[in-house]
Amino acid sequence: MAKYTIQRILAMLLTMFIILTVGFMVIRLMPGGIFDDAVDMTHEQRAALEAKYNLDKPIIVQYGLFLKGLILEGDWGTSLKMNINVPVWDIIKTKIPVTLYINFFSLLISLPLGIGLGIVAAIRKNSITDYLISFLVVIFISVPSFIFATLLQYFVAFKGGLFPIIFDATSTGWARFHGLALPIIALSLGPIARVTRYLRAELAETINSDFMLLAKTKGLTERQATLNHGIRNSLLPLMNIIVPMFTSIMGGSLVIETIFSIPGMGGIMVKSVNAPDYTVTLAVLIFYSLVSLITVLIVDLSYGIVDPRVRMGGKK
C-alpha cells in the first residue's frame, strides 16, 4: 500500500508538471498584455515595465526563469495586476481556506443528503415520495446554480432575514458557518441532486442483487437488508462520481463566490483571467488541478480502504 501510494504520488507530480508546463504556455497565449489596459503611461514607460518583468523575452526563456524561481526558491512569482507585487502564494494562501471551506461543506452536505434522498427514492420507488424527489432532482440539476444563489439570497437572506446577505470575512466559528450557509446550499443543490439520482439508480440495482435476496432469505426485513447490505454496496460506486462532482462544485463556486462576495479562489480565477494576470492564473490553475488530482488520489486510495476486495488485493 505504501509503495503504491508513493508510486501514485510520483505519477501525480509528473502529471502536475506537465499541467504546469502546458498551463504556462496556454496562459501566455491568452489575450491581452499585462499592461495594455493599465494606466495612462507613455510608450517608453510601458516598454520599461515589460522589460522589468521579462515579458519581452521569448516564452521559453520566461518559462525557464519561472521554473528556476519555482524550483530553487519555491517562488511562484508575484502578481502583476491583481495584487501588484504580492507573491502569488501569499494571495492564494488567503483565498484557499474559505474556498475549501465552502466546497468541502457542500460536499459534506450534499453527500449525506443526496444519499439519504437517493435511498428514500430507491426504497419507495415509483411512489409519490419518489416522484417528488425526482422532481426536485430535475429542478436542481437543470437550473443553474447562479439562479438558485440569487433566489436564496433574495428570499432567504434579504426577505427572510435568516442569513447575512453577504459573507463577512471577519466572522469566525458559528457566525462564519452561518454566513456561508447560503452559498454552501446554493452550491450543494446540484450535487445533492446528482448524488440522489446516482444512488437511486445504483441502489435500485443493488436491491435486486443476489446477496440482497440472500439477506432476505436469512430472515432480515426489507429495511434491515437495505440498510445493512444494499446501501453500503451502492455507496462504493458512488466514489466514482465524487471526483467529477467535487470539481463541478469547485467550478460552481466561481459564480457563487461573486454573488455572495466571498473572497475565495473562484473569484480570482475569473478576475485573473480577465485582468490578465499570468502568474495568478497559473497558480490558480495549479491549485484547481492539484485539488482534483488529490481528490482522485484520495478516492482511489480510500477505495482500497472501503472496499476489502481492493484492500486485500483480491480479484475483481
Binding site: 491568452m30 489575450p31 491581452g32 498584455g33 499592461f35 495594455d36 489596459d37 493599465a38 494606466v39 495612462d40 503611461m41 507613455t42 510608450h43 517608453e44 514607460q45 510601458r46 520599461a48 515595465l49 522589460a51 522589468k52 508575484t78 495586476k81 491583481m82 495584487n83 501588484i84 507585487n85 504580492v86 501569499d90 494571495i91 488567503t94 483565498k95 440569487t150 439570497q153 433574495y154 437572506a157 434579504f158 432575514g161 446577505i165 453577504i166 459573507f167 463577512d168 470575512a169 471577519t170 461573486t258 454573488i259 455572495f260 462576495s261 473572497p263 475565495g264 473569484g267 480570482i268 478576475k271 483571467v273 480577465n274 485582468a275 490578465p276
Partner: protein, 584 residues
C-alpha cells in the same frame, strides 16, 4: 462615489472622481455629529478588490479611492461653499504654490508643519521628496511614474531619470524636485505653468505620500519591487482616515484620523468599504441598511425612479464606437470618411439614450467637463454650435454617405463586426439596437454582427493593430473617461502620442492643437483660448469621425436618508463627497 458600472476597457484616462474627498467651508458643523450615540460610519462598497494601495503602482480607481482617503496629497478638490462646484484646496501644502522665477518654471510649495503619520512621525518635505523619488525610481519602474513626471506639468529630467533603468546616467540631483527648506518643496519645470496646473498635477492619487521606513521595509533585496500597500501592515496612513482593517477581497475599515490636517472637515467617525461583486446583492444590502449608498443597475432604475433617495450622477465616460481606421477589409471602408460620416448620422442616439437611461452624445467632450463661468464645457454656446442638429441622427444623410462610401470602395454590400464588453448591459443593449437599426438606415446591403468579449479579449483586439495586424477589429465599444477639469487633456486619446490609443487615427493638426492646449503657456494663462483650442480639437475629430460618440450613461444612486451630503447634487468633477457627509 464608487465605480458601479463595470469598468470599460480603456476607462483608463484617470477620472478625477477617484479623489472624491471634499471639504466644505462650513466650519460650524463640528458639534453636530457628536450628540449621536455610536460611531457614524459611512458604509460604502466597491465592486472589485483593490490591486494595491501603493500610490505609485495602483491601477484601479477603487484603489485610488482608498489611498485618497488615507493619505495626503499636496492639493485636493473640495466642493465650494454652495456645493455646486469644486475648488482646489491645499491639503499637505499649506497654501497656494508660489512662483519662484519670472517665467513660471520654478515653483515653491510650502507644506504644513503639523502633519503627522498615524504612528505620530512628523511629516516634512523629505517625506514628500522621498515619495516622489520612489515613484520615479528607475529600477522599480512604477507604472505611475510617467504621470508624476509629466502630466499637467513636466518636471525637469523626471522622465529621463525614471526611464534610465540601470544606466545611472541621470542622477536624482538632476531631477527638478528639490528641498528648499524643511517645509518647502522646490520644483523645477521644463515649461512655464500656472498655479492651477500645479494644483491639478498634485491633486492626483499617485502624488500621495508614502511612509519611508515602511516603504523601505517593503523593498525587495534588489530594490526592484516593493510590496508597500499590499496589506494593512505594509501601509501607513496619514490622510482623512486611518486604515484600520483590511481583509483582502472582502472589506476595508477606516477610522477617522484625529490628526488629519483638515480634520475639521471630516464629520464621520469611520468609512468602510465592502467588496460586493453583484449588483443585486449591493441593492439588497442597501435596502437592508448595510450600505449607505448604492448605484442602481439599469434594470432596477425604474423601480426607484420616484424614490426621494435617488441621485443621478453624470456619466464618467462617453460611450463611443471606436473605428479601426486602418482596417483593410472591405477595401478599407473604415478608412473612408464618407462611411464614418454615414455611421455617425445613422446612430439613433435618442433611442439608445432612452434605453440606457442615458444622455445622447453627439460630441466627444463629456457633459461633465468643466467650461468657463461655472458652466460646463457642453453648456457653453460655442460648444453647442459645433454639434450636429438632431443629435447627429439623420438617416437620409447617412444613407447618402453610405452609398457614396460603398461606391468609392467598390462594394455592393458590407458586413461589419461590432465588439462589446458583455458585462456592460448598456453596451450590449445598444449594440443589439444598432444591429437592428443600422440596416434599417443603410438598407439590406449592410449587416452588423455583434461579438461580446471580456475586457482582456477586447484589449487584445485593440492591441492587434499596434502589433501590425490592421484587421484585428472593426468596431468596438469604448468608454472614455475624460478629464473633468481639463477637457483639452481628455482629448489626448485622439492624439498620436497617446500610448493607450484605441483607433489608428492620426492627425498632425490635431496633435499640434493638443500640444498647444496642454503645454503652451499662452493657453494656460488664457482659459477662453484654451476652450477655443479644445473646441477646435473636438471639431476636427468630430468632422473626421475619428470615433463615433453615442451616449453617456449617468449612474443612478440611492443614498440613504441618514446621510447628509455637503452638496444636494452631484458636482461635476468632484462627485457627491461622501466622506464629507454627516450621518444620523
Amino acid at each position: 462615489g464608487c465605480s458601479s458600472e463595470p469598468k470599460n476597457p480603456g476607462d483608463s484616462n484617470e477620472p478625477v472622481t477617484t479623489a472624491a474627498a471634499g471639504q466644505t467651508e462650513a466650519g460650524d458643523a463640528t458639534a453636530a455629529a457628536q450628540e449621536e450615540s455610536g460611531p457614524k460610519i459611512f458604509h460604502d462598497y466597491m465592486t472589485t478588490d483593490v490591486d494595491t494601495i501603493n500610490p505609485h503602482i495602483y491601477t484601479m480607481s477603487v484603489s485610488g479611492d482608498v489611498i485618497a482617503r488615507t493619505s495626503l496629497q499636496l492639493y485636493r478638490q473640495y466642493p465650494n461653499a454652495e456645493g455646486t462646484s469644486f475648488e482646489y484646496l491645499p491639503e499637505l501644502a499649506e497654501k497656494e504654490p508660489e512662483k519662484a522665477d519670472e517665467e513660471g518654471k520654478v515653483w515653491h510649495i510650502k507644506i504644513r508643519e503639523n502633519a503627522k503619520w498615524e504612528n505620530g512621525d512628523a511629516i516634512d518635505v523629505d517625506d514628500v521628496i522621498y515619495s516622489f523619488k520612489m515613484c520615479l525610481d528607475p529600477i522599480m519602474v512604477n507604472s505611475r511614474a510617467s504621470q508624476l513626471a509629466s502630466d499637467y506639468i513636466t518636471i525637469t529630467k523626471a522622465s529621463d531619470y525614471s526611464l534610465q533603468g540601470n544606466a545611472g546616467t541621470v542622477a536624482w540631483e538632476d531631477v527638478g524636485i528639490k528641498k528648499a527648506d524643511d517645509y518647502t518643496l522646490k520644483l523645477q519645470l521644463d515649461a512655464p505653468v500656472t498655479a492651477e496646473d500645479i494644483k491639478s498635477h498634485f491633486n492626483y492619487v499617485w502624488t500621495c505620500l508614502v511612509h519611508e521606513p515602511t516603504y523601505e521595509a517593503c523593498m525587495s533585496e534588489d530594490r526592484s519591487t516593493n510590496t508597500y500597500g499590499s496589506t494593512r501592515e505594509k501601509y501607513m496612513s496619514c490622510g482623512a482616515f486611518i486604515l484600520d482593517q483590511w481583509i483582502a477581497g472582502s472589506q476595508f475599515d477606516m477610522k477617522k484620523n484625529p490628526d488629519f490636517v483638515l480634520g475639521d472637515k471630516i464629520k464621520l467617525d469611520g468609512y468602510n468599504y465592502k467588496i460586493v461583486g453583484d449588483r443585486n446583492t449591493a441593492l439588497e444590502l442597501y435596502l437592508n441598511g448595510e450600505l449607505d449608498a448604492v448605484s442602481l443597475s439599469p434594470e432596477s432604475i425604474e423601480q426607484y425612479i420616484d424614490d426621494p433617495s435617488i441621485k443621478k450622477a453624470p456619466a464618467t465616460s462617453i460611450q463611443t464606437l471606436t473605428i479601426n481606421h486602418g482596417n483593410t477589409n472591405n477595401n478599407g471602408i473604415l478608412g473612408n470618411l464618407n462611411f464614418r460620416k454615414a455611421l455617425f448620422y445613422a446612430v439613433d442616439r435618442e433611442s439608445i439614450a432612452k434605453m440606457t437611461n442615458g444622455i445622447p452624445a453627439n460630441y466627444l467632450v463629456a457633459s461633465k467637463c468643466l467650461g468657463l463661468d461655472g458652466k460646463t464645457y457642453r453648456d457653453m454656446e460655442e460648444s453647442q454650435a459645433l454639434l450636429e442638429p438632431n443629435l447627429g441622427y439623420d438617416p437620409a444623410k447617412a444613407k447618402e454617405y453610405y452609398e457614396k462610401a460603398l461606391e468609392e470602395c467598390g462594394l455592393t454590400s458590407l458586413t461589419l463586426t461590432l465588439q462589446y464588453n458583455e458585462t456592460s448591459a448598456n453596451n450590449k443593449a445598444a449594440s443589439e439596437f444598432l444591429h437592428k437599426s443600422l440596416p434599417e438606415v443603410f438598407g439590406d446591403s449592410f449587416t452588423l454582427e455583434l461579438m461580446a468579449g471580456s475586457t482582456s479579449v477586447l484589449n487584445s483586439y485593440i492591441k492587434g493593430w499596434k502589433e501590425g495586424d490592421p484587421n484585428s477589429f472593426e468596431l468596438q465599444w469604448r468608454g472614455w473617461n475624460t478629464s473633468t477639469p481639463a477637457p483639452w487633456n481628455g482629448l489626448k486619446v485622439y492624439s498620436s502620442m497617446y500610448s493607450n490609443k484605441n483607433e489608428p487615427y492620426y492627425n498632425d493638426e490635431f496633435d499640434a492643437l493638443w500640444e498647444k492646449a496642454n503645454y503652451d503657456i499662452e493657453a494656460k494663462l488664457d482659459p477662453a483660448y484654451r476652450m477655443d483650442l479644445t473646441r477646435q480639437m473636438e471639431k476636427i475629430v468630430l468632422d473626421e469621425v475619428a470615433a463615433c460618440p453615442v451616449y453617456e450613461a449617468p449612474s443612478y444612486n440611492l443614498i440613504s436618508s441618514k446621510i447628509h451630503l455637503v452638496c444636494d447634487e452631484y458636482i461635476p468633477g468632484y462627485g457627491f463627497g461622501y466622506i464629507l457627509s454627516t450621518k444620523d
